[in-house]
């Protein structure tokens, strides 16, 4: 039953990533694209955790943690650049 739930979750999260790609392509402003990239990083973390449960590979969690950190830094750096014109003043 857990395997079936993991497969359903993989399909749903893949669909979410497709919706995020649509927003990245169609976003009218650059902030829409930043927000879509941030959501895509969160979806990637969930995808990694579900795959780790499905394949019983606990080493995947370091990858998820690194994704969380890099995604946060990327989003904040993009917003800071848009606000101030540079990242570190």
């Amino acid at each position: 039953m857990i395997t079936l739930a993991c497969q359903i979750a993989l399909v749903a999260i893949g669909l979410s990533v497709v919706l995020n790609v649509y927003r990245i392509v169609a976003g009218p402003d650059v902030l829409d694209r930043i927000l879509a990239l941030d959501t895509m990083v969160i979806n990637a973390i969930a995808l990694i955790v579900v795959i780790a449960m499905l394949f019983e590979a606990p080493t995947y969690f370091e990858a998820a943690l690194l994704f969380a950190m890099v995604g946060f830094l990327t989003t904040v750096s993009f917003c800071k650049y848009l606000l101030r014109g540079n990242v570190i003043e």
């Binding site: 039953m1 857990i2 079936l4 739930a5 993991c6 359903i8 979750a9 749903a12 999260i13 669909l15 979410s16 990533v17 919706l19 995020n20 649509y22 927003r23 402003d29 902030l31 829409d32 930043i34 927000l35 879509a36 941030d38 959501t39 969160i42 979806n43 973390i45 969930a46 955790v49 579900v50 780790a52 449960m53 019983e56 606990p58 969690f61 370091e62 998820a64 943690l65 969380a68 950190m69 946060f72 989003t75 904040v76 917003c79 800071k80 650049y81 848009l82 606000l83 101030r84 014109g85 540079n86 003043e89």
Partner: protein, 131 residues
């Protein structure tokens, strides 16, 4: 594995995936930037939290070990998601001229700090001028 634990873990995984899908669907469907910001910041946090709880319960029930990585990811995501949403909302307000006209006065001779050029910077690359 007890059937109750298995059912609970499967339900948590499916609920988390559902919330992630709802968040991304809101991001793709809603018409306004602020409404688009509202969707994924709530739903994806809930969805990832649910999936990480399921993963912790899975590690505890199946392998019999206590897994700490999920707690780290949960803590980090719950700390950083409001900061991210705040930065995106701030950049949106200060980039959009109609939103910027609705800002209240600061009450001093200096304006809003993000609108002034940074101290010591020689380039006039303040981002709000680009739109």
């Amino acid at each position: 594995m007890p059937i109750v634990a298995e059912f609970l873990i499967a339900a948590l995984i499916v609920v988390g995936a559902f919330f992630l899908l709802v968040g991304s669907f809101a991001l793709a469907k809603l018409p306004d930037m602020m409404r688009r910001l509202h969707g994924p910041t709530k739903a994806t946090t809930l969805g990832v939290g649910s999936i990480l709880i399921a993963s912790m319960a899975y590690a505890a029930v199946v392998r019999g070990t206590l897994s700490i990585h999920e707690l780290l990811i949960t803590l980090f995501l719950f700390l950083t998601a409001p900061v991210t949403a705040f930065m995106v909302a701030k950049a949106h307000i200060l980039r959009d001229r109609r939103e910027r006209a609705k800002l209240p006065p600061t009450g001093s001779e200096k304006g809003w700090a993000t609108l002034d050029p940074s101290p010591g910077s020689t380039d006039e690359l303040a981002g709000f001028e680009r739109k």
